[in-house]
């Protein structure tokens, strides 16, 4: 099953590079390999509008953006798509932002720019896997209710 990934960065060149990267390196966690379907936006508002229309499995965004910062964006995206796993990429140096992202948006992995290709892809794979586990757990919890 294809995993839908939403990429948001106000710098289009970053999006293009990420698109190439995710096409090139397999997004794999252990034996599981995820096939990705990517949508990219330079404007957070446009990305939110798209998230309203359809489901995403992972939402990856930049921290510093002119419209709203990455944490604000991920918070709003979470209200629309609570099951999408969030991931933050940042130009680094902003320790507060990273801590806030972990605490307030519950990101699973943080990527610093300039990113390392392999690390970024495996972080995405791990995040997708983490999401799978969370969903499975939730299903298991529901099972006894049904019995």
């Amino acid at each position: 099953m294809k995993r839908r990934v939403l990429l948001v960065d106000d710098d289009d060149a970053v999006l293009q590079a990420l698109r190439r990267l995710l096409r090139r390196l397999p997004c794999a966690y252990g034996v599981i390999s995820y096939e990705l379907e990517i949508e990219m936006f330079t404007a957070p508002s446009a990305a939110l509008a798209r998230a309203r229309e359809r489901e995403f499995d992972a939402i990856v965004c930049d921290y510093r953006m002119p419209e709203m910062d990455g944490i604000e964006f991920l918070k709003r995206a979470r209200t629309l798509r609570p099951d999408a796993v969030p991931m933050l990429i940042s130009g680094g140096g902003d320790r507060d932002a990273v801590e806030r992202a972990f605490a307030e948006v519950g990101i699973f992995r943080f990527i610093a720019k300039p990113w390392d290709d392999a690390t970024l892809v495996s972080a995405l794979a791990e995040s997708l896997n983490f999401r799978d586990l969370m969903l499975e757990q939730r299903l298991e919890k529901r099972e006894p209710d049904r019995q």
Binding site: D11, A13, V14, Q16, A17, L18, R20, L21, R24, R64, G91, G92, G93, D94, R95, A112, K113, P114, W115, D117
Partner: protein
């Protein structure tokens, strides 16, 4: 009778009592005139005396006034000197503040620039990876084409065109040069990445002043990268690193110390000369040490005990603020360490930083509580 008159009468005329009675009035008049003259004289004498007294007094006053004036002038001069010393001090403090502000804004700027540059570094680096991948694919296709070309009949016009193009574009050279180009580009971008990382490490923007276990060699290296430009034309840097364990320290502050000592070492080498800066390190059970030695002009013995004083500098205006070593001293002190210095004028200077391997936090807390 006036005594002078009586004496004269006695000498010239005999006993006054024997003189004829008709002279009596005349003598009385002369006597009166004598007395009058005498009174006048003594009056004049008296006034002269008074005048003289007044003049003496006036003179004394004048002298006193003069000496007071001189005293005031001396005091004024003294005050003026004090003020000019004060003005110099204020100017130094002002320059110091400017410098501190400059350093702070350089740090901020570096952090900001680092943030901005990280975006393009990120995608250029990633794109180079993608491009390398694409090129690998293209070369594989080319190989397949080459194999197909070999199968082609010799009289095919397309074959001749291929041969011409391969010769014109020098395909053999491209095949050999493209991987080299890619490697150099990757090397270049990783160097840029490293410089930005060093700038960030160096600026305090990243640090939250936490005690960390750190590798001092790494700190020396990133500081060397930052001051590379300041040093490269003046000295050759020789590293004779020994074994160093991780040290519990404030890494960015120690980098500041290394920076000050490295820049000082470079400045100590006279213009137009090329010197040597030797970095050594080592440790024992309790402590670690880092040594920065230059072959520069050295420190005069009379200055040696003042080098850690704030604002003390022998560098020309604009080159040194006189704060570098005192800051360094403070930082090393905060680590419970010490800075040793050995210098020989004309031969060079060696600074040695000795630090404890671990911090005694409990003692520090107690000490600060004791201070409250």
């Amino acid at each position: 009778m006036f005594s002078l008159l009586e004496r004269q009468i006695r000498r010239h005329l005999g006993d006054p009592a024997t003189l004829p009675a008709q002279w009596r009035d005349f003598l009385a008049a002369v006597d009166q005139a004598y007395e009058q003259a005498d009174r006048d004289r003594s009056m004049i004498e008296h006034s002269l005396d008074l005048m003289s007294q007044e003049l003496t007094e006036r003179n004394r006053d004048l002298l006193r006034e003069l000496s007071e004036k001189q005293k005031t002038e001396a005091a004024l001069q003294f005050e003026k000197n004090e003020q000019s010393v004060l003005i110099d001090k204020l100017e130094a403090a002002h320059n110091q503040l400017l410098q501190a502000e400059k350093m702070a804004s350089i740090g901020q700027l570096a952090a900001g620039v680092a943030h901005e540059i990280n975006n393009p570094i990120g995608y250029v680096q990633s794109n180079i990876g993608s491009l390398e991948d694409y090129l690998g694919g293209l070369f594989r296709i080319l190989d397949a084409y080459a194999a197909a070309e070999a199968e082609m009949p010799a009289d095919q016009p397309a074959g001749a065109e291929l041969k011409r193009l391969k010769a014109e574009l020098d395909l053999a050279f491209l095949r050999q040069d493209i991987p080299q180009l890619m490697n150099e580009s990757k090397e270049g971008i990783s160097r840029v990445r490293k410089i930005v990382q060093d700038l960030k490490d160096f600026s305090h923007a990243d640090s939250s002043q936490e005690w960390k276990w750190a590798d001092l060699h790494q700190g020396l290296e990133s500081t060397l990268n930052v001051v590379h430009n300041e040093i490269k034309y003046k000295a050759e840097v020789v590293k004779e690193y020994g074994e160093l364990p991780q040290v519990e320290c404030l890494p960015s502050e120690l980098n500041q110390v290394f920076l000050n000592l490295l820049v000082n070492a470079a400045h100590a080498i006279p213009d137009g000369e090329r010197g040597k800066i030797t970095l050594k390190s080592g440790c024992d059970e309790e402590r670690v040490w880092v040594e920065i030695a230059d072959t520069g002009s050295g420190i005069a013995p009379e200055n040696l005990k003042r080098i850690f004083d704030p604002f003390f500098t022998t560098k020309p205006v604009g080159r040194g603020t006189g704060l570098g070593l005192s800051l360094s001293y403070g930082i090393v002190n905060k680590h419970g360490g010490r800075i040793e210095v050995a210098s020989e004028p004309g031969r060079g200077t060696t600074f040695r930083i000795v630090l404890p391997r671990r911090q005694d936090h409990e003692a520090k807390t107690n000490a600060s509580q004791g201070g409250l």
